[in-house]
């Protein structure tokens, strides 16, 4: 079942490769069918999931793969993986629908759809992998399609952006794979994640800290966290709309997911030593991202910087190492996927209609395309964390969790972080409303007065409504998601809690 969910897209990609290039309708139909089928498999996973047991792996399969290095084909999902897996499937499906007649130049739907499907296999696989080497393969599999997507279909500066994205991530990966190998040798000659979670705690403290450092580089670049974020604005600005959406909605989550799935549970002690620094970089990211937003003139770049800020909240939640914080982080990941994905969709559609994303040239969207204008407003409010919409449940609990970090972490430090992050939300409101004002309010700029601006198209409706509904539903019923996540988070923080208990027992 789960295997089908991972490999169906790549089988589809192979199918597409066999269809001649000029049969566009057939290509699109097959791609749609495959992504829809994958999503249906995903939904059946969702309904068949045992929610009372969301903390343990389900739909597991575990067979031999590479015996020499004792790496196994081990997949399975728990309450943390499941929502992200579904998110990845749904976003890919919606992207195929959105691209229906929006294929960016130089057109060529065949290659574009193939890349999208390969990308989906990589993303789904990463969220399901329970073996470090398998995880690494899927984690890296994502790079190539995204590189080509940006480099071939991107904006004017696409080649620079594509190679920058590739090199940054690969640099992180190189250190990450060294850490994985170190875990293999120090953690009992296995790459199996659940096994390593049991045994990883036994690694000496100094070694743990070093290994965590390598993992940190790999994941933090992907997130991206503050000093490693510079690839993100370039990649987002140059990528085609669909590329930006997938990048924002799913790819960034691979980094944070790595922290939650691998780095923290396997190396709880090192996580504790690193947590204050991760928290520090996270709050710097929040403020820096927000200030960066205020300085942007390009709409997509602004949204990209807002991603840096939002991922800062997610990382702050993770850095507290508490159940509460990590719950907030996972929720934040899903919410950010829905909201920012949606924002990039709208930015792409605006670019297509007006031929520009310059904030200073845009204006009066509400007059020319009122429905799109309202959708933009809706997403902006969701993004700034308005209660009742999904963004709130990622942001607010993350800030709150910093009040009481895991035992052994300095409360004072994290309370300062909390205060700074709270200021960050004010900035967020500032830049998002500013963007909304510039784009949607006011009067139409003279150059576009006579332009015929079409409001939301049918494919756009189909692609966007599910996201908008998701934002609303998870905003009103957050427990739908929290119930799923919470038991699995308990497993993640087990190691950290055990350390805390040991410390307090020793203190007594």
């Amino acid at each position: 079942m789960l295997t089908a969910a991972i490999f169906l897209p790549i089988v589809g990609a192979a199918l597409l490769a066999l269809i001649p290039r000029d049969r566009e309708d057939m290509l699109k139909a097959v791609a749609l069918l495959i992504t829809a089928a994958t999503t249906i498999v995903g939904l059946s996973l969702l309904f068949g999931f045992d929610y009372d047991d969301a903390g343990s792996l389900q739909y597991e399969s575990n067979t031999n793969w590479i015996e020499v290095i004792n790496s196994r084909y081990h997949i399975g999902i728990d309450g943390i993986s499941l929502p992200l897996l579904i998110l990845s499937m749904v976003i890919t499906l919606l992207c195929v629908i959105y691209s229906w007649d929006h294929f960016p130049e130089p057109h060529n739907p065949k290659a574009f759809l193939i890349l999208m499907l390969v990308l989906e296999t990589g993303m789904n696989g990463t969220f399901a992998a329970q073996d470090l080497i398998l995880f690494f393969v899927f984690f890296e599999l994502v790079l190539l399609p995204m590189y080509f997507m940006i480099g071939v279909w991107g904006g004017p500066n696409r080649q620079y952006a594509a190679i920058k994205f590739f090199l940054y991530t690969l640099f992180g990966s190189a250190l990450m794979i060294l850490s994985f190998l170190a875990l293999y040798f120090k953690g009992g000659q296995t790459f199996d994640i659940p096994l390593l979670i049991e045994q990883g705690g036994a690694i000496a403290h100094g070694t743990q800290v070093l290994i965590f450092g390598g993992l940190f580089m790999g994941f933090a670049i992907k997130v991206p966290m503050f000093p490693f974020h510079t690839w993100l604005p370039d990649a987002h600005t140059e990528a085609p709309t669909v590329g930006s959406v997938i990048l924002a909605a799913v790819l960034l989550k691979l980094g944070t997911y790595g922290f939650i799935r691998i780095a923290i549970p396997i190396l709880p002690e090192a996580a504790k030593s690193w947590a204050p620094w991760i928290g520090l970089l996270a709050v710097i990211g929040i403020i820096y991202g927000a200030l960066g937003c205020l300085a942007q003139r390009d709409m997509k770049r602004l949204i990209a910087f807002s991603s840096v800020a939002h991922m800062g909240f997610v990382m702050l939640g993770i850095a507290t190492l508490t159940d509460f914080g990590i719950n907030a982080a996972v929720f934040g990941m899903v919410a950010h996927g829905l909201i920012t994905g949606m924002l990039f969709f709208i930015a792409g559609s605006i670019q297509e209609r007006f031929g520009t994303r310059e904030l200073s040239r845009l204006g009066g969207l509400l007059i020319q395309a009122p429905r799109m204008g309202w959708m933009l407003g809706f997403c902006a409010f969701a993004s700034l964390g308005l209660p009742g919409l999904a963004g709130f449940w990622g942001e607010f609990p993350a800030i709150l969790s910093a009040y009481q970090p895991a035992e052994g972490l300095s409360e004072l430090t994290f309370r300062i972080y909390m205060a700074v992050a709270a200021i960050g939300t004010v900035f967020a409101a500032g830049y998002l409303l500013w963007m909304l004002q510039r784009v949607a309010f006011g009067v139409v700029k003279p150059e576009f007065e006579d332009a015929h601006i079409h409001d939301v198209h049918i494919p756009e409706y189909i692609a966007w409504v599910p996201l908008l509904l998701g934002i609303l539903v998870f905003g009103i019923f957050p427990h739908l998601l929290f119930d799923m996540i919470d038991p699995a988070v308990g497993v993640v923080t087990n190691g950290v809690d055990a350390l805390g208990d040991a410390a307090s027992a020793a203190g007594r």
Binding site: I66, V68, V137, E140, L143, R158, Q159, A162
Partner: protein
């Protein structure tokens, strides 16, 4: 003492015997065939290579694991069989790549295939050589035909330069190496590697001249595998030589050098890792870094691939550097890493050159810019080239990743801080390398066609076969590495 002829195991020698027969047939047949039927020669050579594979398979399946001859100077074990199969496979692919190249270029055909087979014979013998003299003879058998093949485009000055440079430096390397070998013989009184290995921990090891001898031998082979700073011949030779021969030199000839090194180090000199350990460490770090940094600046694809193959040799040197550290703790995994890397490297590098040959049929150019827009008129070639390049860069899920992974595993297995440092250097280098591999990918996918000529490339059938073989290996090993890892494990060296 009366001379007793050594007992020969003809089953074990069958691949060599078949090769010798075939190359004789090619040479003689060339005399009697008129020009219109010369194409038969390549077919004879190809069938000869396939025929030589048969005894290798039967040896692999036979009960006897190790067949040692001439007092241990010539050993057919699993390592030898794996490497022999690799050489024959490489030869087969190079042959497929050459057929149209030699025909269309109007070069001598009979001699070309004859020399190619001679060189392969040298390599096949090299895989079994566990004796200084056998190693030297094998090395010369594989090198001398290669010197001539490098100059096969005889009306082209660059090809002449390629051949001459390769010859002069190759001979210099042989001389240095031979001097080293004579010193070793002088101190140990034997040429058999296993006996040398025993003495290396004893009395002979005390001699300072032994250090010099080992250094000389390694330097000689460093020329052969084009390790920095002994690499200066490689880019010029690779650029000037006929492209199939470039592929042959960068894969088969280089592998030949590494095979000799593996036998020398693991069987002969293992006790003296205090000498070769640091030496290989420095060579590896220099080779990777300089190879990659210079490759960044190249505008000609063959020169770029030349530096890339220098850098790849650097990765293969890494396991050598750490094999002896920590009391030889990582010797097994280092050995496996070297063998696996050689096997994988052969497939991906041959694939890249097959594409270069295919594309040059149309563009008649070696400039990287001539790859602009390849995807638009030859999507199949562009996709395959992308696969090979990213495999060389070590991007999953392609074979190159596992080759690198095995090296990293050996590095961490050794666990000393020097080994880890070398590992980090290798990791950083693979990031640098990506940059120039991606440059070609970028040209193919993202640049316009330079002259606007979008007529598709007609790829001849032998070249398609070569591409199918190499791409098949790269992808299958990428997805299911266990299929290859077995060979690496199997290939434990028997002294």
């Amino acid at each position: 003492m009366p001379f007793t002829p050594p007992s020969l195991d003809y089953h074990a020698l069958a691949p060599e015997i078949i090769l010798t027969l075939v190359l004789a047939v090619v040479l003689v047949a060339d005399l009697f065939l008129d020009t219109s039927r010369k194409w038969l020669l390549s077919n004879i050579a190809a069938f000869g290579l396939v025929a030589a594979m048969v005894p290798i398979l039967s040896l692999a399946l036979s009960e006897t694991d190790v067949r040692s001859m001439v007092d241990g100077a010539y050993v057919v074990d699993n390592f030898a069989l794996v490497l022999k199969a690799l050489f024959l496979g490489t030869g087969f692919v190079v042959l497929l790549m050459s057929i149209n190249y030699v025909e269309d270029g109007d070069y001598y055909e009979g001699e070309f295939y004859f020399l190619l087979l001679c060189s392969l014979l040298g390599m096949v013998v090299m895989s079994s050589s566990r004796d200084l003299i056998t190693i030297f003879v094998a090395l010369e058998t594989l090198s001398i035909p290669a010197y001539m093949l490098a100059g096969w485009r005889k009306r082209d000055l660059k090809s002449n330069e390629a051949s001459l440079k390769y010859y002069l430096l190759g001979v210099l390397a042989s001389a240095i190496m031979l001097y080293g070998m004579s010193l070793i013989y002088g101190f140990t009184g034997t040429t058999v590697l296993a006996d040398i290995g025993e003495q290396m921990s004893g009395r002979a090891a005390e001699q300072p001249m032994v250090t010099l001898a080992i250094v000389f031998i390694i330097v000689g082979f460093a020329f052969k595998v084009s390790a920095v700073p002994f690499h200066s011949w490689a880019p010029d030779t690779y650029e000037g030589a006929p492209t199939p021969i470039t592929a042959f030199l960068s894969v088969a000839s280089k592998t030949g050098g590494f095979v000799a090194l593996l036998q020398l180090i693991y069987v002969g000199f293992f006790g003296r890792d205090d000498i070769w350990g640091p030496m290989f460490g420095i060579l590896a770090a220099l080779t990777m870094t300089l190879g990659n940094l210079t490759a960044l600046r190249q505008t000609n694809i063959v020169r770029m691939l030349a530096y890339s193959s220098i850098a790849q040799a650097g990765y293969i040197l890494v396991p050598f550097a750490i094999a002896g550290s920590n009391g030889g703790a990582a010797a097994d995994s280092a050995f496996t890493a070297s063998v696996v890397y050689l096997l994988v490297y052969a497939a991906m590098n041959l694939g890249v050159f097959a594409i270069v040959i295919a594309v040059a049929r149309k563009t008649r150019s070696g400039e990287i810019t001539s790859y602009g827009g390849l995807y638009e008129y030859a999507p199949g070639l562009a996709v395959l080239m992308t696969i090979f390049l990213f495999s060389l860069a070590g991007i999953p899920p392609l074979a190159g990743l596992w080759a690198k992974l095995f090296i990293f595993r050996a590095v961490i297995d050794a666990g000393t801080s020097w080994a880890l440092l070398l590992g980090v250097v290798a990791a950083l280098n693979s990031v640098i390398a990506l940059f120039y591999y991606a440059t070609i990918a970028r040209e193919m996918w993202m640049s316009p066609v330079p002259d606007g000529d979008k007529t598709p490339i007609r790829v001849p059938a032998p070249l398609i076969t070569a591409l199918a073989i190499t791409a098949g290996v790269v992808i299958v090993v990428g997805v299911y590495p266990q299929s290859f890892a077995n060979f690496g494990d199997l290939a434990s060296l028997v002294p």
